[in-house]
Symmetry: C2
């Protein structure tokens, strides 16, 4: 056996920020060196950021990323870090500019590199490309066909990339044939509710299949609609979990592993192997340090427990919001605070994400706003210490009504749009990002005003059903005084109880209640989950026990709301199926479930 | 040789409208029978509509489409059309419910069927799946591996689907091996500027490769952002064009072809053949009518000339707008008419698309509107006979300004958003679809107000650069009195000359001009075309002869405007690269060309 101290750098890059991401790699490589690591690994696409989408098809970006990788290798050596092998994801392309019809322009690769001694030692690329849900990688990448196996401290380390673990055959199968002592997987695997255990089980299964320990490093941070939760982990050859990083924070997971020493007869060079998925993969062997180091004392091991469901969701929303604000160059947000539960939760998420001093809440009472709403909103603002301002809209509504004779929905929508005009004006005047408060139940059923309450730059609870909105508000109130990296240290409950218990209303006409237009949320949300997230049709929904009349009503609402959903701003994604990128329906929706 | 009268039904289905599309197939099959055709062919995905996007992943929709095909076959026979072979596109799935990781859910197929005698005779599916530009078919389809060869009138007819023609190897190669006498290609090929000649050249090349005549039937009509132009055509085995349908209208292209009689020794059954693209395709032979009919006199041949560039673009915009209105269940539109060229062209397109009596133009003068603008807008409304209404916005602006202290851009945007509130209110009150007037130059550079002038349900000139907006306006004025299916019969010039010649201005502050914020359009548009449509980076743009300072300025504008573009409504697409579906960049744009 040989000892290897591996460091998994669970860090937060930004799509497109090549310089900033390179700085992160240097900084965390130094931390790994300081911790005495023999090898440090960074997430998939670390240098370019992920998801890059069609930026991968722009030749000038690919070239910039390739040059940045070479510069990074030299810089690591210049800064005295050249002896520590670094594995990192980056964006590359096939070396030959072969143009094939139907192949992504420039043949981009979701690549990994080993950096050592100021140079790029070996390059490889993801073999299995995911092409479902939020992933469209057949569109932007071509597949890799090489498995690097690099000897470090006398241990053969094979590297694969993310989806390579999720599909049968390919690099994992070839790892087994290579008799590597460690399989290192670099990832950008987005958070989904309950996904953590799926990942651990998968790593255990693939470790047994590869016949060696497996180290899994994941990205952390919000990037556009995705939130990466980290949760990097290491399992032994039998699938036992050995080390685990905390979720939703940057972290260097350092572990001392006892691994089988490499067979010295396996010499540097390339050997093609049947990958058992209809393709051939070439093992590309390199030797950095042929022999194990002298025995040394091992470090105590980090093993973070996964979070509870509500804590996990809340952390994802805070991190998604914080990074969206930061990565888009904003420092403050503005939002309409109605006194209802949705805007209350969004304000609280914003306070937790960027500090209440950077949150600007606008109270926009109309002739239909209850006194309770204004009082509750003011109470919340005071509890959290956010900036609050009252802008009554009655005079603006009257100015429109002097010119236009509006009734029913048109009159209701007008008020919502006037409110949006106010927060957009304050956004333009002061440079705040607008947060919008719509939840997934509203969004799915179209219960919102286009260019009104749905307007804004980011929608923190876009992927949260109404019942979960209430759960999260109650959960957040239980955390007053708790010290967690994604919570502002409020000493008292940040959300007034009255906001949580009141009946939901848009307050756009006298005595309006959500249940005038929608089923009760206790009935609505379970049908929405099955229809939207599980793509179940009418027959399947009824067979699953939902009331047929309710199913018909919900389907009609959802199918009619498609266009409005397309106009919605991005928001952190926490379920397998949302709207927009991972549920792309035609605009003209002549087919309806029936 | 054998005679075959083929009918290509260039028709306009609607995505999801299974009943309506089946009605179209029955109606046009009857027309083909009345014309004495021996075979009638409909476009790709005719029964489901195209593009179906992720609707293909919903099992209940796929099943509904499969059932609709069986019903259609029986109905054709019930209505006395069972003897005429019908080839049509539809949505199917792999027969075995094999679940493979990374494979689209339900294994959907972009399928073709031969219908005859009340039954489905043979089914096949598209082999080459396009996965670039507007196409993401690896996401929603699995590939077919069968080439049907059906003997009709003693001629062996092979059928392939759209992209099968565009890529090397596969079904065309197997057609050659099958010694078919006719290759029938069914298509849903969207319009792009100058694409028609590319298609004709491709058909000629593939006919020579297959060693037989080639009949190409294409869809026509607007569907969401795509416009299908028809242009169905037939070429001989040497590539000579024999027949061609007009563009942008439904049409039955009937042609009498003299084709080689089939080898009688080629018997019904299945034979696997190397497809020369790394796959095997099975030839599936059927015999309907083994022998040629007695000789009969041939019909005179249709040969439509392709349109001029401007006529073609204008027709695409009118058809795209008309079908978007109709397929989404609207009958009328509302739009803001400023007196500028963009809203003037949009109003004219709307008049041509749905008739001026269904167009509601709102004039929304502010304190900064010039008198000329109002006069010109009123002149246009009178020339075209659209419904016009003046709604001054000064009082509304003042009501906001009493509450908010706004400057610069914030004050300008407020006016644009108030105008949008007015047309959205009239849309909600009266059920009109809102048309928005932004052009591609504005959209690319972000020179518009989010939730203001960019708000609406459809953007007819979204994919038209400003210089082309002027060209189209001038061209349309030359067509007064001309009788074309996509023009309203205005007897005089529909657009006042003053609107075409005035200097462009948003009129949101005193003496504002577009050139205060943007380069002159004669400089801007060529750089935009290279940067946006050809994905050229900074170096390549400068090497192509653009001024470096101008390039830097345009790149900065375009890279910063990404988020606003995502919020833009759909519009007819007329170039290879637009925004949104076919140019999907990450939301966080930390990387900029430099």
């Amino acid at each position: 056996m040989a000892q290897l101290r591996i460091a998994l750098a669970q860090v937060n890059p930004t799509v497109g920020d090549l310089d900033g991401n390179a700085d992160l790699i240097v900084e965390w490589t130094r931390r790994a060196a300081d911790a005495g690591a023999h090898l440090v690994a960074f997430p998939e696409m670390m240098l370019a950021g992920y998801p890059v989408e069609d930026l991968a098809l722009r030749a000038s970006f690919v070239e910039a990323c390739r040059r940045a990788l070479d510069r990074l290798a030299r810089r690591l050596a210049d800064e005295g870090l050249g002896d520590l092998p670094v594995v990192t994801g980056y964006l590359d392309r096939r070396p030959v500019g072969l143009v094939r019809s139907g192949q992504p322009a420039g043949a981009p690769l979701d690549a990994a590199a080993w950096l050592h001694g100021g140079e790029v030692l070996v390059r490889s690329a993801k073999h299995h490309l995911p092409n479902y849900g939020v992933f469209d990688e057949y569109r932007i990448f071509v597949r890799g066909d090489r498995l690097p196996v690099v000897r470090v401290n006398g241990v053969d380390v094979a590297t694969v990339i993310c989806e390579d673990l999720w599909q049968d055959g390919g690099p994992v199968s070839v790892t087994s044939a290579s008799r590597a002592g460690l399989l290192l997987s670099i990832n950008a695997s987005p958070y989904e509710r309950n996904k953590d255990d799926v990942r651990l089980d998968l790593c255990a299964e693939r470790a047994r299949e590869a016949g060696c320990a497996l180290a899994y490093v994941n990205m952390v941070g919000g990037q556009d609609e995705l939130v990466f939760d980290g949760d990097s982990l290491i399992v032994g050859p039998d699938g036992t979990a050995l080390a685990r990083a905390p979720q939703f924070v940057e972290h260097l997971l350092v572990a001392d592993l006892a691994l089988p020493a490499a067979d010295p007869s396996a010499e540097p060079g390339r050997v093609p192997v049947d990958a058992l998925d209809g393709t051939t993969i070439t093992i590309d062997r390199h030797v950095l340090t042929p022999d194990p180091p002298p025995a040394y004392p091992v470090l105590p091991q980090t093993f973070a427990e996964p979070m509870d469901d509500l804590a996990e969701i809340y952390a994802a929303l805070v991190l998604g919001t914080r990074d969206y604000v930061r990565k888009n160059g904003f420092r403050s947000v503005v939002l309409g605070l109605s006194g209802g539960i949705d805007s209350a939760l969004v304000a609280t998420i914003a306070s937790d994400a960027i500090g209440p001093e950077n949150v600007h809440a606008i109270l926009l009472p109309s002739r239909y706003s209850s006194e309770g709403s204004v009082v509750d909103a003011e109470d919340l603002a005071k509890r959290q210490g956010v900036n609050a301002r009252v802008v009554p809209i009655a005079g603006m509504v009257e100015a429109f009504e002097r010119q236009l004779d509006l009734h029913g929905l048109a009159a209701e929508n007008l008020q919502a749009r006037i409110r949006a005009n106010v927060w957009m004006a304050l956004s333009n005047e002061h440079g705040h990002l607008v947060l919008t408060g719509g939840n997934k139940s509203e969004l799915a059923t179209g219960y919102s005003t286009l260019y009104g309450d749905s307007a804004g730059g980011f929608a923190p609870i876009k992927d949260v059903f109404k019942l979960t909105v209430w759960d999260l508000a109650r959960w957040r109130n239980t955390q007053a005084g708790v010290d967690l990296p994604f919570l502002h240290p409020f000493l008292h409950e940040p959300i007034p109880e009255a906001i949580i218990t009141k009946e939901p209303s848009a307050e756009l006409r006298p005595d309006q209640r959500d249940r005038d237009s929608l089923p009760e949320y206790t009935e609505l949300d379970p049908v929405l989950a099955d229809y939207v997230e599980r793509d179940m049709g009418r027959e399947a929904l009824v067979a699953a026990g939902h009331d047929a009349g309710l199913v018909d009503r919900v389907i009609r609402l959802v199918d009619m709301a498609e266009y409005k959903r397309r106009q919605y701003p991005p928001g952190p994604k926490i379920t397998p199926k949302n709207f927009g990128r991972d549920r792309r329906l035609p605009i003209t929706n002549a087919w309806r479930e029936k």
